[in-house]
Amino acid sequence: MVSVFIRRELALLARQKADWLNPLLFFIIVLTLFPLGVGPEPNQLRIMAPGIVWIAALLSVLLASERLFRDDYRNGVIEQLVANRQALMPFVLAKIVTNWLSTGLPLVVISPVVAMLLGVEPAAFVAMMLTLLIGTPLLSILSVLGAAITMAADKGGILLALLILPLYIPLLIFASAAIEAAGMGLPYNGQLAILVAMLLLAFALVPLAIASALRINVS
Amino acid sequence: MYFDSFSDFLAMGGYGFFIWLAYGLTYLLLIGLVAYCFWEVKAFRQHIQQKLARAQRIKQYQEADQP
């Protein structure tokens, strides 16, 4: 069942290209605005680069997630899935997977190019890629949770940001700690291990929370 | 009493500003919280009053509307 649902989401993504192009474009735009706004001194850019990449990634995943359940909620799809019960969990999993495929993955794929343009050093670069690879699925899971929680709320966006950012911040702290360690030539396995642990824990527990959030929201 | 004089007490060994700032803010917030909690009770009573008045109005309206 999950695969059918994933195929549905992919069909939707193929039709509504905005849903994945938009975050990607947003990511790129944020990054290109920096040299324009801050001034293009290479040294400064190089130091800031990994942090900025992570911030941009975080924001674009956050923004993309707002619309995640909106259409399905308005059309009554979620309501009927909740009434049906058995299909809810596969639906949630499909949403998480496609959310990562559509926002996380493109960011991971594009970030080498971006890092190159901003002149990130090789060591920090590897760390950035690794943290992004581990961090973006976690970002996806959390933002699906946020979207589910605020689905029926009258004031979607702001709440989502308010709720989810606290959960994001540990991620940001560990990721930038790892990158910093890498930049100074220190080992950063510890930070990566924590990121992986966070990811696994989230993957085990959060889908349950998402399903019950959906259930509560339609009642 | 640990301090020799009242002004000593206020000065707190030179750290008076920070200590009194901390205590002041704390008690400000606590008193505010207590006041808010009791104000809520009062506001709820008013809300109930308004609700009753409103129900009355609608009833009048519907009675006037029926015949």
């Binding site: 929680i149 029926a152 709440l159 606290p166 929370a209 | 640990y2 060994g13 809520e40």
Partner: protein
């Protein structure tokens, strides 16, 4: 085992129970808090390293501990509410949230007022400080979320869910001093086997802590009563409860 708790799940009984508890709690809270704080401010000795600034400890540590304890209570309540679908417990989650938020704010502010003389800076992006700030955001998030739904019940339940999820932050706050090497000092009084604080400071500290705790419970009673009334306002007993007073 918890049979005696069952009647309290009935809103009406709980309302009156809280009503009876309230004066005692409130009175003892005010007394212990003032007693502990005055002892700490005026009668306890200063620290040999931190001088008189250490007197902030009598509000900083209780409020910081309480901010976490309150969140823990809230999370437990939220778990109970979601699993067993008990309505009064759901309301309790929302009743306690603003109290915790205020305690968190106090912990932050007093910490800042302490940090300036001790570390030379009001604020630092250090792990404990940041995670405590996040705790404040979580409290605010729970409150804001509950208000964001047109349907009060939905809002309450969703807020319970968030309170539960946000609990991960509490251990992070507590262990942050061990996991990262930070400016903030490690556990001293919460190491129960061997407290490393001198009794002359420990006692006023513990009394202040008790005072904060009682105050939390008292305010919790007040807010829970209001919440019960709000959610049960269409029931006949509410009218008599309101009229009776």
């Amino acid at each position: 085992m918890f049979k005696w708790l069952h009647p309290l799940a009935k809103p009406e009984i709980l309302y009156h129970f809280c009503g009876r508890l309230l004066p005692w709690l409130m009175g003892s809270a005010v007394l212990t808090l003032l007693f502990g704080n005055i002892w700490g401010l005026a009668f306890s000795p200063p620290d040999y390293q931190q001088f008189d600034t250490v007197r902030i400890i009598y509000i900083h540590v209780p409020s910081a501990l309480l901010s976490m304890a309150t969140y823990t209570i809230m999370a437990i309540a939220a778990f109970t509410a979601l699993v067993w679908q008990i309505k009064v417990v759901q309301w309790a989650v929302l009743a306690i949230a603003p109290i915790g938020a205020v305690f968190t704010a106090i912990a932050l502010l007093t910490g800042m007022a302490w940090g300036k003389p001790m570390w030379g800076t009001w604020w630092e992006w250090d792990a404990r400080l940041t995670s405590e700030l996040i705790l404040l955001f979580l409290y605010l998030g729970v409150i804001a979320l509950a208000g964001a739904f047109s349907d009060r019940q939905t809002g309450t339940k969703v807020a319970c869910l968030l309170a539960l999820v946000g609990f991960v932050n509490v251990p992070i706050i507590h262990f942050s001093v061990e996991w990262w090497n930070t400016l903030h000092q490690g556990a001293s009084i919460t190491k129960f086997d061997k407290p490393s604080v001198h009794p002359s400071m420990l006692w006023p500290l513990l009394i202040s802590l008790l005072g904060f705790y009682l105050l939390m419970l008292a305010l919790f009673c007040v807010r829970l009563r209001t919440a019960i009334l709000q959610n049960e306002q269409h029931r006949p007993w509410v009218k008599s409860a309101l009229g009776g007073q």
